[in-house]
Amino acid sequence: MNGRRNRGDEMFHIIICDDDESFCSKLEESVLRTGKALNEKFDVGVFYSAEKFYEYLQAGNHVDLVFLDIDFPGKNGVEIGALIRNEREDESIMIVYISSKIEYAIELFQNRPFNFLEKPLDTSKLERTLQEALELSNRTKQKFDYILSKKQHSIWCRDILYFRSEGRKVELVNTGEPLIFYDHLSSIEERLQNSDFLRIHQSYLINLLYVKVWKYDWIQMADGEWLPVSKIHQSKIREIHVEYMKGKQERV
């Protein structure tokens, strides 16, 4: 996991990646203007080629959000998205796809995009997207504390995919190596109450942000693991799912 350094700094790192230079400068201007209006520090970088952007990521630079054009000559937005998620196993970078038409291939959705923006740019939609991204980023800037070998450690909530409990042990599945420590899932659930974590089963507490496939009785997480939704929770979780989608639809 290369994307984890610099997490502590206050900057919100945004990359614009599009081969349309005039659009890039227009988008950059709008992003900076929105940042000023929201009183947030935005660090904006621009790439005209998808490969160059990927090299930048591979060099270990941290990016919070990328505006990624879908139609590129060479490697396109779909492929780069898949590389980020599958090769780099970077689940936390937010991908906002940009396209001149609203015809989207199914592969785009498999990269768990944060949102889609259409050309020509709708600035109010851009503002909403940035606001939502900031909110999410601040929400996940929470730390989760756990005790391992009698020492207290902590991990960013945004790096946690899910918790699995087995007897008295809890396995914390994250973007790196899984961590195993002694704790109770119910107590963890209580500690994480104001975040995006959801108890789907007696043995599973998941981070909603990293759901890859959502079924009524099963949920697949970003790491490919299928987790069961217990019968007693199913209809309640569907309601939560509806509310979650509703909230998302209203905001972006």
Binding site: E103, Y104, L108, F109, R112, V213, K215, Q249
Partner: protein, 437 residues
């Protein structure tokens, strides 16, 4: 009168016949109750007749030859458990169902016994009490069904239901009358047997009626789906026609422009081109997600909305390919759009908003429309909505069929409203791909 009652009780054969008949009737009611309450499509069918037959034989045998109330109770409960076990339902539902059936049975029996004791007609050991309690069970059962607790076939109109309800009720009344009057015992026996048969027949008729209503509902649903198909084809034809029209127009436009060019009138050419651009902008307002069903239906409905002066806004983020069946998707979208459009065009604001999102192989659809203030009736108790559509036959069918279709994909339809807007939300999961199952 006491004499008659006494001699009646001595008549062992008559009593046994009456008991067998009553018991058979009671088991038939229980059978109906179980199958209606569970609404199972595939129970372990081949065992059912054997199980119910066994229940009847065992129960009757024990009652006639041993007549031990506690043994009978035990056998009753065990048999009920076995019958319910044959249904493909969850454990908790099974236990609940047995309790419910036996509870109703016991309450009816107890009620009838105490009524008779109070009236002093007969002592509570009399087997005929059970007959009366069976009539009462039918009443309770019908009431439960009417309250929608049991999911049985199509909805039978209230008039037919009332008719079915009054028959067992008057049977109780009539039976009391027969017991109280001075008829000969043979006549009484025949009358009571007749009443039981009458109830069985009426129940059979009620079931047939219910089935025919269910069939009618199915037909209506099919018609609705056909209608949507026709809509889609019409919309595609309209598009094709427009392309032909456009080609024709284009030729005229070029001729016109050529004419202006020949006259060296740049100003006229400019005006003409600006006009054309405006027109193109108006055309390009149509939906184009690449998904044929969504595009077809939305464009068709939005076109219709525009004719009614309804302002439409769309926010669509869905993939070109969706794994839902085309007819289901068309039916869901078409029905919801029909409802929304109908309300929006009659409202003051005339607004319609359609949002579709796709995430984690789940489709989320929201349709928000303005509605005229007096058109919405909400049943507070059940949270269901009634439209005041003029066509009574179509009443509520649209939403009902949407709900049914959505549930096929483990999904849910949720409706909500404010003072001016009505919102329908659909969440449904894409079916698993075959290799994954």
């Amino acid at each position: 009168m006491f004499n008659i009652a006494h001699s009646f009780q001595n008549d062992a054969v008559g009593n046994a016949i009456l008991y067998l008949l009553g018991n058979g009737f009671r088991i038939y009611i229980i059978f109906r109750f179980i199958s209606a309450a569970t609404n199972t499509s595939q129970p372990k069918r081949k065992w059912l007749p054997i199980a119910y037959g066994g229940f009847f034989v065992l129960n009757s045998f024990m009652e006639i030859f041993f007549h031990l109330p506690y043994l009978n109770l035990l056998i009753n409960i065990l048999c009920l458990l076995l019958l319910v076990w044959l249904q493909t339902i969850g454990w908790s539902t099974r236990v609940l169902l047995v309790l419910e059936i036996y509870g109703i049975n016991i309450v009816c029996e107890w009620l009838m016994t105490s009524i008779f004791n109070v009236m002093g007609i007969m002592n509570h050991q009399d087997t005929k009490v059970e007959l009366f309690s069976d009539f009462l069970m039918v009443l309770v059962f019908l009431l439960l069904e009417k309250r929608g607790k049991l999911k049985n076939g199509g909805k039978v109109p209230i008039s037919s239901w009332l008719a079915t309800f009054f028959i067992p009720m008057f049977c109780i009344f009539l039976s009391c009358g027969i017991r109280l009057s001075d008829f000969s015992q043979t006549f009484s026996l025949i009358s009571l047997i007749g009443l039981v048969l009458l109830n069985v027949l009426v129940f059979g008729l009620y079931d047939q009626l219910s089935a025919s209503y269910a069939m009618e509902k199915d037909e209506q649903l099919q018609k609705q789906q056909q209608r949507i198909y026709v809509h889609q084809i019409e919309s595609q034809k309209e598009m094709a026609d427009r392309v032909i029209q456009l080609k024709h127009d284009l030729k005229n436009h070029f001729l016109c422009l050529l004419n202006f060019a020949n006259q060296n009138d740049v100003e006229k050419i400019r005006n003409y081109l600006e006009n054309l651009l405006n027109q193109i902008q108006m055309y390009s307002q149509c939906v184009h997600t690449g998904n044929d069903v969504v595009d077809g239906i939305l464009n068709f409905k939005i076109e219709e909305a525009k004719r009614w002066g309804v302002c439409c806004e769309t926010r669509l983020q869905i993939p070109i390919q969706l794994k839902f069946s085309l007819t289901d998707l068309a039916s869901i979208l078409g029905n919801l759009m029909d409802n929304a459009l109908l309300a929006a065009k009659n409202s003051a604001e005339k607004k319609l908003e359609i949002c579709m999102n796709y995430e984690g192989e789940t489709l989320f659809l929201t349709i928000i429309n303005s509605y005229p203030a007096d058109s919405l009736k909400v049943n507070k108790q059940s949270g269901t909505f009634f439209t005041t559509k003029e066509d009574a036959n179509q009443h509520g069918i649209g939403l009902k069929s949407v709900r049914q279709l959505v549930s096929q994909y483990d999904g849910i339809l949720s409706l909500s409203h404010t003072d001016t807007t009505f919102t329908a939300c659909v969440l449904m999961h894409e079916p698993m791909e075959k290799e994954m199952v």
